[in-house]
């Protein structure tokens, strides 16, 4: 059947709109360091200083990791430059008892919650022992496959709901992750069971060489949540206040049994995908420069300066403190005894199999 133009118009006229949605975007702190005071989250001056110092620590960690990698002291590393506000702003809102399911580009989340820094260097130096989460943290080892961790977060949230714990669960992934089946299965389940889980998407515009525009034709990634009956919010991911506020809101919702929230943090991966990548092959210098001007740390610095919370001396102290923490962590990491070959066998099953016992005789 062919439909001519006037029939098509008639069909539209006869239809009813049965569902529509709106996507909120939160922006609080602009590039000049001016904040919309009416939107400011409840953060004390000391909280803001702490956030700033964490941002400095993340950047120092990231730069050190890159230089250690170039010296052959770390393996392939996934940098976080440019995404610090998305990571600190969200993780700073969490309680110690909350569960976190990160991807491989979440060093900043680990650092914000206080994960031992030397263990992060240990892992990126290709020693699995760095992923042994200490008992007082509830962060899962990073997920190397993209998007699969979304389901683990949904499962943990299902368990915490069953146990009636006041725990919230957070999972992190990127714009590329939203194309994976597990992302969709996870959001669907979270919606169906109204789970206390928060999906934090760091839309950093690039999945290795694939730009955001080719990952999905959705205008926003946040709107994908509405397909699953979940609220989706977009925030300026380089605005630490906006990220914090959206996360705090979602956490409150989760703890009150109001179900899941999807937060799209619009940010940018300033560095290469990993140290094994060369981003100049697929994106322009102009684009990177444009995003550098939106730097998350610079704008918080300007804000704090206007508030009298920042001085040159304070900056120097924060950088020195971060440098000495990183120095110490690298030293600790590099002074650890190497793993023993027998340890390959230790954690496959709770008990060794008869065949593994025979194989162990090689060591």
């Amino acid at each position: 059947m062919t439909v001519n133009k006037s029939d098509a118009i008639f069909l539209i006229m006869a239809e009813k709109i049965i569902e529509s949605f709106q996507v909120r975007r939160i922006e609080i702190l602009d590039e000049k360091g001016d904040a919309d005071e009416s939107l400011m989250p409840a953060l004390s001056d000391s909280d803001i200083r702490r956030i700033f110092e964490l941002l400095i620590l993340l950047r120092t960690f990231d730069q050190r990791a890159l230089s250690l990698q170039r010296e052959g002291r770390l393996g392939t590393y996934a940098p976080i430059l440019g995404q610090e506000a998305s990571q600190v702003g969200s993780a700073f809102a969490l309680e110690k008892s909350d569960w976190i399911f990160p991807s491989y580009r979440e060093s900043g989340v680990y650092i914000t919650i206080g994960y031992p820094l030397h263990m992060l260097f240990q892992y990126w130096a290709l020693d699995e022992r760095g992923l042994k989460t200490p008992a007082d943290f509830n962060i899962f080892p990073i997920s190397i496959p993209v998007g699969t961790q979304v389901l683990h977060a949904v499962g943990a949230a299902m368990a915490s709901k069953y146990r009636k714990d006041k725990t919230a669960t957070v999972t992190y992934f990127g714009d590329g992750g939203t194309s994976k089946g597990d992302f969709h299965e996870g959001l669907n389940m979270a919606g169906v069971f109204k789970l206390p889980v928060i999906f934090i998407c760091q839309n950093n515009q690039w999945a290795i060489s694939m730009p955001r525009s080719k990952q999905s034709t959705s205008k926003t990634l946040a709107q994908k949540a509405y397909s699953y009956g979940i609220e989706g919010i977009q925030v300026d991911g380089n605005d630490v206040f906006a990220v914090y506020k959206a996360t705090a809101y979602a956490l409150q919702k989760a703890r009150q049994g109001e179900g899941p929230t999807f937060i799209e943090c619009v940010t940018y991966r300033i560095a290469d995908h990993t140290t094994a990548d060369d981003a100049t092959r697929y994106r322009s210098k102009e684009e990177v420069e444009m995003w550098k001007a939106k730097d998350p740390i610079q704008r918080l610095k300007l804000f704090m300066e206007k508030k009298g919370l920042w001085t040159v001396q304070y900056q120097k102290e924060a950088e020195d403190k971060a440098t000495s923490m990183i120095d110490e962590a690298v030293k600790t990491s590099e002074s650890l005894e190497p793993p023993q070959p027998r340890e390959m066998f230790t954690y496959i099953y709770e008990k060794l199999t008869p065949r593994q016992i025979k194989q162990l005789k090689d060591f």
Binding site: P145, G181, D182, E185, N188, Y347
Partner: protein
Amino acid sequence: MPKLNMVQAINFALKEEMQRDDSIVILGEDVGRDGGVFRTTEGLYNEFGPERVIDTPLSESGIIGTAIGMAAYGLRPVAEIQFMGFIYAAFDQIFSHAARIRYRSRGRYTCPMVIRTPYGAGVKALELHSESTEAFFCHMPGIKVVVPSTPYHAKGLLISSIRDPDPVIFLEAMRLYRLIKEDVHEGEYTIPLGKARVVQEGNDVTIISWGSMLHRSLQAVEGYDAEVIDLMTLSPFDEETILNSVKKTGRVLIVHEAPKTCGFGAEISATIAEDAILYLKAPILRVTGYDVIIPLPKLEDHYLPSVERIRRAIEEVTKY
């Protein structure tokens, strides 16, 4: 002692374990109100409620992925994949995460989870409803693979699998679900994982099988002095019981319904060749499915090892 079929025995194991331990939850497609498409979870939804017998969306990777998160959090999920042919959608979760999380986290997180799934041919089912791809899972360190062959063993092995600290793939032969009734103890009992059983003793040939092919093997050995081993756990498997038997009989026949190439029979055969070749009087033979896609039921009787094929192989191996 009640006489139960395998569906009922599995149902009892789940029910009794859930009564004992509130960390056990069931999740899967149609496992709740419907009681499972084979009725293995019948009555559990009413007894334990929707938070413990969870009807999930149609989402195989989602079922396994969420079960991993639940297990990490401290629950003991029993996930059901409705047919083995649909488990492939969840391979990434099983191999990349369930199998590895103990290792990757150095024991901080574990995955005490059971994945139950009906497997195997012989029930006139649709495409992808007759798969027997157990060998895939045996190739993945971190996963255990259990295949019961009778109602009594199904119950004891399932209880052990639920209590096991590591992820277990629990394969239920559809052909056996209602084929046999036998005495099954009420109350809890366990059958250890990793141990085979000698179903009948004999001297001339060792037949090694599991799941539904065990029964065809038992029919085929009538009139022969054959030792029959039910492997029960494929990974990790009981080398000792196999080797002891082979050293006694000197002849081996392995029977499974999966395709021959890289089927689990190959691993058993290689193990015998490595550790007991000097005891062998004859070549190791395998009677298996063919290296083809399992056909639709018009041809499945030609695909599955028949009593006749098994008998011919016994004749051949005992000529030596």
